[in-house]
């Protein structure tokens, strides 16, 4: 279990802390192995108090691994991290998952859930309101696709395509349930007429869009994403 607060003796070194906590469990994982996993090997002899916030958080996770658990709970493991530190924390979590551990983590970051999780559950008001793999959560996969691009000068779009267009700032926006067919028509036309289709963009609703959609009714402060990596 890795809680949000740190909770380690500031005057012990990284290696000592892991050795101390390992000793509490019947079959501990070795400090060297843990430092490798959480990327603190070079900090082995540095005292906890001298570690950066991100390094302390990684040691936190390391302490959670001291007893070699099969199931690990991480409570918002990257809150307050800069993008670099977040990336390395993500790599660490991927590493852990690759060793066959089940990881249960909570987060407020949709990109984090999208990147790490095999399964995601969205909790609002204390209840799970959606659950599934991030790719298909709440029908993301079957939702309509949005296609945007900047219209070229002079050449008019074919009539049937133009009929479904909306203007979104400088861009033209289309929604379609059949993106393959639509794109085939669009790009075929563009090639034939030598139109560049500047800023062409094909997107589906992100996990964030799904989340906002699902939680719009509830109090946004009470929602949380739970995810599972295994």
């Amino acid at each position: 279990m890795v809680l949000q607060s740190t909770g380690m003796d500031p005057y012990l070194t990284v290696a000592e802390t892991l050795e101390l906590f390992g000793g509490y469990y019947p079959s501990p994982r070795s400090p060297e192995e843990i430092m490798e996993l959480v990327g603190l090997t070079e900090k082995a002899d540095v005292r906890v108090t001298k570690l950066s916030g991100g390094q302390q958080r990684r040691l936190d996770v390391g302490v959670g691994l001291a007893g070699d658990p099969d199931l690990l709970f991480l409570d918002e493991p990257t809150t307050g991290f800069d993008p670099g530190a977040r990336r390395s924390a993500w790599d660490m979590i991927k590493n852990l998952a690759a060793t066959g551990k089940t990881i249960f983590l909570t987060t407020h970051f949709m990109d984090e859930a999208q990147y790490l999780a095999d399964r995601v559950a969205i909790i609002a008001g204390g209840r799970i309101i959606a659950e599934g793999p991030p790719e298909t959560l709440a029908g993301r996969d079957s939702a309509t696709t949005i296609i945007r691009f900047k219209p070229g000068d002079g050449v008019a779009l074919p009539g049937p395509v133009m009929a479904t267009a909306r203007e979104a700032g400088e861009l033209l926006e289309f929604t379609t349930a059949n993106p393959v067919h639509f794109l085939h028509e669009l790009t075929g036309w563009a090639l034939a007429h030598k139109v560049a289709l500047e800023g062409l963009e094909v997107s589906r609703p992100s996990l964030e869009d799904v989340y906002l959609e699902l939680t719009r009714a509830g109090d946004p402060d009470e929602t949380e994403i739970e995810e599972e990596v295994s």
């Binding site: 909770g7 380690m8 003796d9 005057y11 012990l12 000793g23 509490y24 469990y25």
Partner: protein
């Protein structure tokens, strides 16, 4: 690992962290020794009569600072370090491991007692070398028992006082406020000579004076005595039991704020 093995292992790590923490090492360890040198140098040459023995004030201070050492190492040190560990979430974290809570606290206590013994021995050696102080051979059993009862009593009280400390910021104020005044009126820093009646009552209620006088009994026993101060030891044991009861009932492993 056996329970005792677990506790001793924890003592080892507690000890490592202790010496690396400048505040803990200074206030717990260097402070009493500083007081010892200052008091004996300033007031050491005068004479004083304790239990019918004429001794120098310097040797009085050997016993006084020995008592003070036990009190800082056990009461002050345990109360402060536990409150800080509680605020940092260390206690909560330890509670989430298979290590039994009592083993963690026992380790803290054993470590405190080891520090206390080390300090008392330094006081004693200092007194023997510079002031011809001596521990009467007949008093050695009483010395060990008095030290053990005092250390246990003040350790228990140190744990008990954490239950009224809201957070680490308040710890130094509350811990010092509960102990410093007593140290001044309990025959520790200043030899008590004909104190006013109310001060006498205060001294008789709280454990500090019982401890310092039990120590004096060990070093300066009345003629024919083996140095045991039964009444003082009984009062100390009662305070220790009370402290333990409060600690067991109300000790918090989570930050209180």
């Amino acid at each position: 690992m056996s329970s005792m093995g677990l506790v001793l292992r924890q003592v080892r790590f507690t000890n490592k962290a202790f010496w690396r923490n400048p505040a803990a090492a200074f206030f717990t360890f260097a402070f009493p020794l500083l007081f010892l040198v200052i008091f004996t140098t300033l007031f050491g040459s005068a004479g004083i009569t304790i239990n019918g023995n004429d001794v120098s004030v310097a040797t009085f201070y050997i016993t006084g600072i020995a008592a003070f050492s036990v009190i800082t190492a056990c009461y002050t040190n345990i109360a402060m370090s536990l409150t800080f560990a509680r605020d940092l979430g260390v206690l909560k974290r330890v509670k989430g491991t298979p290590l039994p809570g009592w083993a963690y606290l026992a380790a803290r206590m054993i470590h405190a007692v080891v520090i206390a013994i080390l300090l008392v021995v330094i006081c004693l050696v200092f007194g023997m070398l510079l002031y011809d102080a001596a521990l009467p051979a007949a008093s050695i059993p009483a010395f060990i028992v008095t030290l053990a009862v005092g250390a246990a009593c003040f350790s228990a009280l140190g744990m008990a006082v954490t239950t009224i400390v809201p957070n680490a910021d308040a710890a130094p104020a509350i811990v010092n406020a509960t102990i410093l005044p007593l140290l001044f009126v309990s025959d520790v820093f200043i030899p008590l000579q004909d104190p006013p009646a109310w001060l006498d009552v205060v001294g008789k209620i709280f454990p500090v004076r019982h401890f310092s006088e039990a120590m004096q009994q060990v070093f300066f026993p009345p003629a024919g005595s083996s140095g045991f101060a039964a009444t003082h030891l009984a009062v100390l044991a009662a305070w220790g039991a009370l402290g333990l009861l409060v600690a067991v009932r109300r000790f918090s492993w989570e930050p209180r704020r």
